[in-house]
Symmetry: C2
Subunit: 332 residues, 2 copies
């Protein structure tokens, strides 16, 4: 593979090169991985200085996330911005389908020349999905996209992953009775920079306003974070179906991003994220040694002895690490 050519094409914003590169970082093959590492480093060495606004977007099924992304994305492309949509969905491997489906749920946006939609990679574990998404973000940024939407369904740890991948974290919610406010876990609330109550239209308009006020109140009760200017985090109502409130939401996002940039929080966050993902990558790579021979076979034999009750887990683990993984005995 010609890494230099691929790198140049990505920097020239060629879509097919971008798509090929994302396929490369998603591959599990060792030679592909070596190429992917070289490509990412080549793009970094090119020192392109491009930074997209990375917007993490979480919302449970039923809140109208696809409709929101379609309407929001089209509004941005109409302003001349280039928009990429990526997904973090660890369940896509299991269900056989991706969160973004076959793009049919964002029909117009997927045909927009200024938009690039990429479904979640088919990885069975969140760590794999996270790495591929993180690298796809770097590729989209090098290809000069202005806004990268990283979406997830709110399941398990995936919101945390998305928050660690983004400059801003947006929580998309549906109008609901006051009781359901508690349905959003406190930890997720604390990650949110902007909460959008969708479906603020028709019969639900009043409920949406009330829900918005409830969340605004809840946000005020949270501890003040250094990365927030006055008034943030913030709750707003939008209607993706009627395309109302989207411009205000975008204004708030850019205002917050701009403030963070000037206050130094933007760079600090990106640096912290870079460290976080490096450490995650090291851990994941280290653990992958357990899936390769001869360690894998030895581990299986020892597991059999542990199951049979002949060895304790502690002694077996110690044996494996001392014999196969060049570690001194007894350490913790």
């Amino acid at each position: 593979m010609d890494i230099d050519e691929l790198s140049t094409d990505i920097l020239s914003s060629k879509r097919r090169a971008l798509a090929r590169a994302i396929t490369l970082v998603e591959s599990g093959r060792a030679d592909h991985r070596a190429d992917a590492i070289a490509l990412l480093q080549a793009l970094k060495d090119a020192d392109h200085g491009r930074q997209a606004l990375r917007v993490g977007l979480s919302g449970t099924p039923g809140v109208g996330k696809s409709t929101f992304i379609e309407a929001f994305g089209l509004m941005l492309t109409a302003q001349g911005l280039k928009v990429a949509v990526l997904a973090v969905d660890p369940s896509s491997a299991r269900s056989g389908g991706s969160i973004l489906g076959d793009k049919t749920r964002m029909e117009q946006l997927s045909r927009d020349p200024n938009a690039f939609i990429r479904p979640s990679p088919s990885q069975s574990h969140l760590g794999g999905v996270a790495r591929r998404t993180r690298e796809a973000i770097e590729l989209c940024e090098a290809a000069d996209f202005d806004v990268i939407l990283i979406e997830t369904v709110g399941v398990g740890q995936s919101e945390t992953v998305v928050a660690e991948l983004s400059d801003l974290f947006v929580l998309l919610l549906a109008p609901a009775g006051g009781d359901e406010l508690q349905g959003v876990k406190r930890g997720i609330m604390e990650m949110a920079d902007i909460i959008l109550i969708n479906k603020a239209d028709g019969d639900l308009k009043a409920t949406a306003s009330r829900t918005c006020a409830d969340y605004a109140g809840a946000l005020r009760l949270l501890r003040k974070r250094p990365q927030d200017p006055e008034g943030f985090p913030k709750a707003l109502t939008v209607s993706a179906a009627q395309e109302t409130g989207l411009d205000t939401a975008w204004d708030e996002m850019t205002t917050l991003a701009e403030w963070r940039r000037e206050a130094g929080h933007w760079d600090a966050r990106r640096r912290a994220q870079a460290r976080y993902w490096f450490e995650a990558e090291v851990r994941e790579a280290l653990l992958s040694t357990l899936r390769r021979e001869p360690v894998k076979g030895a581990m299986e034999r020892l597991a059999g002895q542990v199951e049979a009750g002949d060895l304790t887990a502690a002694a077996a683990a110690d044996d494996l690490l001392t014999t196969y993984l060049q570690r001194g005995p007894g350490g913790t």
Copy 2:
């Protein structure tokens, strides 16, 4: 340390030896760890054949867990059974206090010669707490305890850990309106073998019965599991304060345990758990190499370069693993 003597004393059910041994498995010192591994293996080699009924018990604060354990434990010791109480509480290190406090919350039980109460170890991460608890269970079993209650507050992943440590998983809940039924996560419900609605006394008695019926209905909607006989998982009401329903709860536990023993599920579960914990131990030990020099220092230097934007996370991780951790380049 005389491992043989300690091992003999534990097998002779000497409490002080048991307490010392648990302190040993909780230690982070490398020499203590080597002794702990030797002790656990010596007990296994003694082939004592003792198996306690390990009961996992989860309940959020306010459900009356301490009162329940006190009353339930005293009922068991009155029957001549020896009862150990262990706790899995990853937050104990942070809050400075243990879930079991200074045993004052189980005053009578803690003075009972047939009971042994051990607070959660002060470990900052759940993996550490899990390992120590698992090893404490093995020690209590070798010391001839009949019942081991492993309790946790329902936070994050700790229920999963407790379920992986026990033969039966009991969920203790408070009476509540139907709306709050959804407050129990589906994943937790699916782990439960028996749900106990506590506080079925006084003003709350009717609510407790209704809550119990609600959960019984919810349990029937779950997919049938091979490890359950007809009628399980089951929901019951109890009152720890008035000591009612505890005997029925114990009957149901022993009935279920007996059935699983005869059907082969008991052994299968213990074997699967042994494998699970062996694999967890290997992963944890492998990752601990990252906290030791020279790897730790190299990782810190590379993290600095990643933060500064000079290196991609992928290239830096590859460098670290290839140079310091004897791994071939490019693998995943």
